[in-house]
Structure formats: structure tokens, C-alpha cells
Symmetry: C2
Subunit: 350 residues, 2 copies
């Protein structure tokens, strides 16, 4: 094996917004501790294949495991360089992280929920520009992140709708949170059009600010950038478009996001002129307990799942191999005591 | 390629001690900025193959490049999992790092130069214990580190001598610093025998505290631990022995350390019952400018060079391939403008 400095780089931004504490917007809201532990746990699962410092495998109250296990499964079959960026972690992680100065995001209903947004954007932009790579895949883990994504889209004046990690998208609760946030920030919808940093500082979260910085730095250095995720990454794409970048930009998501009729990601991707890749892991081909929640429409995305599946597909790895490896990763971590562990440790809604 | 959670793990601890500012103990002392920038730059070089945030390739005033370039060359030929631990960085790095709460070490002549030693030791120990791996290779980068290593050895009552990154080992200056440090800490030589954490807090540096914690956690979880380095790692081994661990422990160093008559590492390794591996990169087989300073006895070790060479050797990679790759790494980074860049950016004495 020979390592090239131009390898594919996969960067996971892990962080926190207190918006996830709002009742009903996130499955994690049921257990506030999981708001803090899910991102550092996801970072460890992707890096090491198991928890190191967090002692947590995030599982939703209904038993849906974190999509980190899917991304990890791909990583065990297909080499790619991984870096984790601290996009506002509330708890320490045992995974190595790059700091860009992002702090925990406060509730979207506050007047200035992401005071570190400008600094994190610029530090991430410099890092994204200097990273030696030809292609950058950007992923996220942040409970509550679809609500702040909606906030950013509205502040920019984009009418795209966001998806949900819940089977039933709590759109009204998200819209109410965004309305409250716009009022607190003295903004009307569209008032931050063309001002991406303002939009993400007033209505977003630190992960969105960091992702937008990384992507901006990437495209500035002629790196091919793919946003790996669902409607949160749509908000990142909107931030880039409103920052004046009109070049090529990829969006790689799962078939579960694409199938979500509450948010039409195909139309939104077209509107933002994104190269959309949708990959189906074929989880309906089995009745494994770890896959059936995805088939039921939970989680849908996160931790770069759609991007990892696209990378596997491009490398010619059969989805059957990905599923087999996912079962192994899942069973090693959760197989024995899933009945005991899933409810109390749960909570991976984004 | 299939990734196993039990892969070989190589952990670099990068940090700072203000002891390096003392005149003549470290080549980096000539330019105080390099005390701060060498460890984060080494971390970036090992991770990415080039500087990302630091914009520095550490080169000594006489033109010896950082041994990070050798370890990086091996990493480009032979896959191993890498993690960087922040052992008290004074400047940010673009490399992902794990935090254990280590702060910058103050001068050895102060009464309490490493107040974070106990906390860093315990956090590193927990991390070393939980890391999923069968074998752990531990490396360091800290200018001035051989002086603090000598301080720890004396505090423990060990009479081993330390090596130097300078061709001419400034033993008297190091001994004087240690004498001053013992007096400031109200210790006589040997007073901290059997008290490793006290020894490293009063006379050491944050990298030694972190390495000792990682190694302790590793052996507690039945992981095979190899200390990759020279006489600084000898001090880490002494800390483990004084902590009561009498099991197997490896030390992998370069032929340049082994050939240093100012410090008899073979005798010291025997005394501490270490499995010593000495690897010769064969740099004398060429007259490349980047290798000749090593042949002249400079640098000798650092950033896990001896351990990386041992890993390459074990994997059956010919040293000729390692040399060729080193030349490529060196020339890409320094080849064009070595005459301009080496003196002002220099300083990699440890």
C-alpha cells in the first residue's frame, strides 16, 4: 500500500446545538445527555470501530443505531483518510480532532446562538484550503441539526424543506423554532440573503459554520468537494451559493433521504445546481434488526452515511459486502444486549 | 483492504517544555519560535505529508531535517493507524489531536514545571487502556526533551545518560539544568524512586507524563507496547518500572542513538529489562543532503523514527525503498529552496 498525499479525504464535523433540547424536534431530546454524547461517540465509532472515551453507542429510543455504524462499515472495506473536526463538542472525545475554535451552539431562539461562527468559518476555510487532497468529502454529526439547517435556509430566503431523523418529520415544531429564532434575531425570511456568515451565526449551528468554511476553502484550492449528507448539507450548499460560489459542488445522500416526501431533496439540489448522488444500501434485502429501522424511515442519514455508500459504490464494493460488514459492526457493539442497551442509551435524531 | 480494530497503532505525543529555551541544550534554542512550531509541524508532516497550519518544515541550523520526514516516508509505504496526542502544544496544529489535558511544560529549573502531569497521566492511561489494538507504538516530539528526560531519570535514581540531537552532546549543560531543577524541587537524586508521577511532575515534561500514562494503560489492557525513540523513551520505561510494572516492554530506536557513545542505550535498556530493537536506515549508502546530517550524528531520533524503521523492517520493506521515499518526501518539501529555507526555519534539537 502506498499512501498518496492526494488521497480521498473524509472530514467529519462533530458538534452540538442546544436547539436539540426542544421537545419533539429530535429523538435525542428525550435524554439530554445524548445531545452531548452522540457527536463524540460517533467520532470514536468512525475512528476506532468502538467507543473509547464515551462508552456510548447511540441508538434511538425505537432502536435505530447511529448511521456512524454504516460509515464505519464502509471504512473497514475501503480505505479513505479520515479527519474529525471539532465543530462545537460539548463532551470530550477520544477521537483525534482538529480545532477551529467552534463552541457549543445555543438554542436557535436566542439572539446570537453561534457567536463562534465567523472564527470557525475562517479557521475551517484555511484548513480546507491547505489540506493536501484532490477530493474532500464532508460529513456531520449534530443532534437537532435539521432544525438549524431550516433556520439557515429561511434566513437566506431559500424555501427548501429539511428532512428528519424521525420517521414522522415534526415540520411544525421546526417551523415554530425558526419563526422564534428569526424574531429573536430581528430578521425576516431572506434578510440574510447573500450573507452566509450572518445567516449561520444568527440562525444556524457551529457545525454548519464549520462545514461551510471547509467547503469554501476546498473549492478555493480547486479541490472537488462533496457534501455527504441530507438536508443539513443542503443548507451548507446554500451557504456556499450565497457566498458567491457558483462552481461544481456534489451532494451524496442516501435513498432514505431521497424517499422522504416531506422534503424534496432532488428539487432542492436542482435549484442549488448540485451534483446529486443517491445510494441505496439495500437494507430491505434483510430483516436484521439494525437495518429495519432505516427501512422504516428512521435516521435516514448522518455521519456521512450517503457519502460513504457512494464511495463504496464507486470503488466497486457490492452493497451486500457493506451490509455484511454493517451486521458485523452492529453485532459486535450491540448484538448481545440490544434489548437492555437500546432504550437508555438511545437518541440519534438529527 | 480490510481494516481491523486490532491494527497496529502508532501514537505520537507532541508537546513543549520551556527547558528548550536554555542556551545550548537544544538546537531549537537559537530560535525560540521553533520551540513552539516544531511539535505541531511534526504532527502535520506525519499526518498529511506537508505543513497545513504551521507553514514550517523543521530543519536544524546545520541543515538536518526533522526525523518526521523519515517516519512519514515509512507511513507512505506501510499502513499503520496513527493518532496524535496533544502533550502540551504551544501552537495550534492542523493535525487531528486527542486531548488529555496536558499544558505547556515550564522550565525544569522551576519548582513545579508540569502541574498538569497527574491529570495528563491519568487521562492518557484511560485512553491507552481503551484503545482497541494489539500493539501500541509510542513516539514523541518535544524540543529540549532529553534534558527533562535526564531530570526524570535522576529524580528516580537511575544513572542512565541521555543522548542528544546535537552531534556533540551538551551533557554538562543538561546536568547543570537538572541540578538546578532538583534544588528548586527540594529533591536529591533518587528521592522520587518508586514515585513516577512525582518525578515527571517535578523534573519532567508533559510529553513524558502523557507517554507514561499511555504505556501504563496499554500494558494494563494486555497490549504489546513499544516505546519508539531514544533516551527520552528510556525515561518513559523507567517511569513504568518505578510504577511497579515489570512485564514486557519494547524500545525501538535508530542505529544513530545506539552509536552515541555519550549515552549507552544498550546498557540502559538491559538494566531496565527492555526488548531493544535497533534499526539502521543505511543513510550512509547515499550522499543525499537530507541524509548526511543524520550520518554526521545529528537528530539521531525523534517522531518515532526508530520505531517506524522497525515496522518497515518487520514488514519486509527494503531500507532502499525507505530511503527512496524519504528522498521524495524531502525533495518535495525542501528540495527547491533548501538553501533559503533551512537556516531560518530550522531547529529540531530534542
Amino acid at each position: 500500500m502506498t499512501r498518496s498525499p492526494e488521497a480521498t479525504r473524509f472530514v467529519l464535523v462533530a458538534g452540538t446545538t442546544e436547539t436539540a433540547r426542544r421537545e419533539g424536534v429530535s429523538a435525542a431530546g428525550a435524554d439530554p445527555e445524548l445531545l452531548s454524547t452522540t457527536p463524540p461517540a460517533d467520532a470514536e465509532l468512525l475512528t476506532y470501530g468502538r467507543p473509547v472515551r464515551t462508552d456510548t453507542v447511540p441508538v434511538s429510543p425505537t432502536g435505530c443505531p447511529t448511521p456512524a455504524l454504516v460509515t464505519r462499515a464502509v471504512r473497514e472495506l475501503h480505505e479513505f483518510d479520515l479527519a474529525i473536526v471539532d465543530g462545537g463538542l460539548a463532551e470530550p472525545t477520544g477521537a483525534p480532532t482538529v480545532s477551529v475554535g467552534a463552541g457549543v451552539g445555543r438554542d436557535i431562539g436566542e439572539q446570537d446562538p453561534v457567536p463562534t461562527a465567523y472564527g470557525a468559518f475562517e479557521a475551517a476555510r484555511q484548513y480546507g484550503r491547505e489540506l493536501p487532497t484532490n477530493e474532500l468529502w464532508l460529513a456531520e454529526t449534530i443532534p437537532g441539526g435539521t432544525t438549524t439547517a431550516l433556520g439557515v435556509l429561511r434566513a437566506l430566503g431559500e424555501d427548501a424543506m429539511v428532512s428528519s431523523s424521525l420517521a414522522e418529520n415534526p415540520i411544525e415544531k421546526k417551523e415554530a423554532a425558526v419563526t422564534e429564532g428569526l424574531a429573536a434575531s430581528s430578521l425576516a425570511a431572506g434578510d440574510a440573503a447573500g450573507e452566509p456568515k450572518r445567516a449561520v451565526r444568527r440562525m444556524g449551528d457551529p457545525v454548519l459554520a464549520t462545514l461551510a468554511g471547509l467547503a469554501t476553502g476546498g473549492v478555493e484550492s480547486d479541490t472537488a468537494v462533496t457534501l455527504a449528507g441530507g438536508t443539513q448539507q443542503l443548507a451548507v450548499a446554500a451557504l456556499l451559493r450565497h457566498g458567491g460560489y457558483d462552481g461544481q459542488l456534489g451532494l451524496a445522500t442516501t435513498s432514505y433521504v431521497a424517499a422522504d416526501t416531506s422534503a424534496d431533496i432532488r428539487a432542492s439540489a436542482r435549484e442549488l445546481n448540485l451534483d446529486l448522488t443517491v445510494t441505496d444500501p439495500g437494507f430491505n434485502a434483510t430483516d436484521h434488526v439494525g437495518m429495519e429501522r432505516f427501512v422504516a424511515g428512521e435516521a435516514k442519514e448522518g455521519v456521512g452515511m450517503g457519502g460513504a455508500l457512494a464511495l463504496a459504490d464507486r470503488a466497486g464494493i457490492p452493497m451486500e459486502d457493506v451490509r455484511d460488514r454493517f451486521v458485523k459492526v452492529y453485532d459486535d457493539l450491540l448484538g448481545e444486549d440490544i434489548a437492555d442497551s437500546m432504550a437508555p442509551r438511545g437518541g440519534d435524531a438529527r
